[in-house]
Amino acid sequence: MSVFCRELTKSFDGVTALRDVSLKLSDQGIVALIGPNGAGKTTFLNVITGFEKPDSGSTEIDGTSIASLRPFEIARLGVSRTFQQVRLFWDMSIIDNVICARQGEPVEGPIRSLAKLGVRAEDRRNRRDAERALASVKLDGLANVMPQNLSYGQQKLLSIVCAVETEARTLIFDEPVSGVDARMRDEVLQVLDQLKNYRRLILFIEHDMEAVRAIADEVVVMDQGSIIAFGAPEEVLSHSEVIAAFWGK
């Protein structure tokens, strides 16, 4: 699945968050999006997932323009995401969070749900797959616990599991390891790294350069709403403009 952005521009009350951003991402691999605070990284993710509409420019996913699509339609094209602040369905158990992410419209439709047309079998299958997904991140013992009883790192991990379980081909994670302890950080990075085996495109925002170096195949650097560098991690991170943007001259 390819993502192609062309000259995206977005302003909020006169403040330009994105300035002519163009980027083409191939259909698999791990791409890190880095940059100082206020560089426009989250705005960029919000635009390509439909949560913000650009002032100008366009985005195509697998050749389909997303200009008129709503976030759920973009998700159905195969783009799933997490958020900077952990978002989960807080009044649903952990396993129900994952099942909810897995279940799709045919089985969710009110008529089919009311008539129970094939719903039980699919629900059982989704539960089994959700249990397997939780076991793979060592959360299976907590399946019936409410998410607020998890540690912050486990909550981040659960939100990643939910995004992955939508079976989207493009996964977008907004700061997946920020604020989590070292052990959980390694676990999250391991999960992201394993996703490479499933031929998916993973785009993630991160401030932790060690994490970026550890798993990213490519790095995109943003500053003041523009992309200032794009390429292999070692090459990009030694770029003089990138060093200036991060640590000053």
């Binding site: 949560f51 958020f83 978002r87 009044d91 099942i99 419209e105 969710e108 749900s113 009311l114 129970k116």
Partner: protein, 294 residues
């Protein structure tokens, strides 16, 4: 005995209305202020069809459900995309429009005088004449409504509605068509309320606009929140409290001059006590409007 049957039918009608509302209020988390309007659509449709065309009960249910569904779609199409607060205003507007229609469309509704002499419902070419038969019929229909709502709430559709209630943005990010699902819940809820309205018209044999105004809608919201929005038994408990508590107060010996006021005060105090000590409702798990712990 007739008194007990009257109370039982009244209770069943409220239970049906409470579960129908709970699909929107408890499961989806949307404050719907026009539930009585849908109830009224059912009652007036049944009255007009039965008196004018001697139509059978199933036909009244079908037409009432259709009219309620159309009204629900018309109001939710523009408002469901907006923030939930706008939907509250839109649903209140629909309630006002429906109340005004009942009051002023005199050729159909007979205005403030209402429609009287509504005959017993026709079931398989026979009229359901006795009160006991009507009680059994109400029990069967309300049973179907409760079964349908519970079935939906525990289904993948219900899980998706809970997800929308908990975090609509996340639900969208996971591919849920939130507007479509909210509309579906609203349409189903309105149609079920109209079915209860059909039963009400045949039971009371007289209907007027005051039975379906905004105050009645607020009573329905009160009973669902009191019982516990989104819970298994909450709507039934709320309905029982709202119907049976005033009935129980009838037996307290209070001088006639102050009786109604004192009873109203006792009822209000009981409601306040529940809301203070059980803000999540008698059988609820979540305080309405505070489902998230963010």
């Amino acid at each position: 005995m007739p008194y007990l049957i009257h109370v039982a039918i009244q209770l069943l009608l409220y239970v049906g209305l409470a579960y129908a509302l709970d699909l929107v209020l408890g499961t989806t988390g949307i404050l719907n202020v026009c539930h009585a309007g849908f109830y009224g659509i059912g009652a007036y449709t049944a009255a007009v069809l039965c008196q004018t065309y001697h139509s059978p009960l199933w036909f009244e249910f079908a037409i009432a459900g259709l009219v309620a569904a159309i009204a629900a779609v018309l109001i939710s199409l523009p408002s469901m995309r907006l923030h939930d607060d706008f939907f509250v205003l839109a649903s209140f507007a629909l309630q006002v429009i429906l109340s005004q229609l009942m009051l002023n469309w005199k050729s159909v509704t007979n205005g403030a005088l209402g429609i009287s002499g509504i005959p017993a419902p026709i079931l398989w070419r026979h009229n359901v004449l006795g009160k006991t038969d009507l009680l059994l019929l109400t029990l069967a229909i309300v049973g179907c409504i409760v079964w349908s709502v519970r079935n939906l709430q525990s289904s993948p559709f219900g899980r998706a509605l809970c997800a929308i209630r908990a975090d609509e943005i996340l639900a969208q990010a996971l591919g849920k068509p939130t507007v479509k699902y909210k509309m579906a819940a609203f349409v189903i809820s309105g149609s079920l309320a109209s079915a209860v309205g059909v039963l009400y018209a045949h039971y009371m044999t007289f209907i007027d606009p005051s039975s379906f105004d905004a105050n009645v809608s607020i009573t329905f919201i009160t009973l669902v929140i009191l019982g516990g929005a989104g819970s298994r038994w909450g709507p039934a408990l709320g309905a029982a409290l709202v119907v049976l508590l005033p009935e129980g107060l009838r037996f307290i010996d209070i001088p006639n001059s102050v009786g109604p006021n004192v009873k109203q005060i006792i009822f209000s105090v009981c409601l306040l006590l529940v809301l203070i000590f059980r803000p999540q409702g008698l059988a609820g798990h979540h305080e309405f409007g505070r489902f998230t712990t963010e």
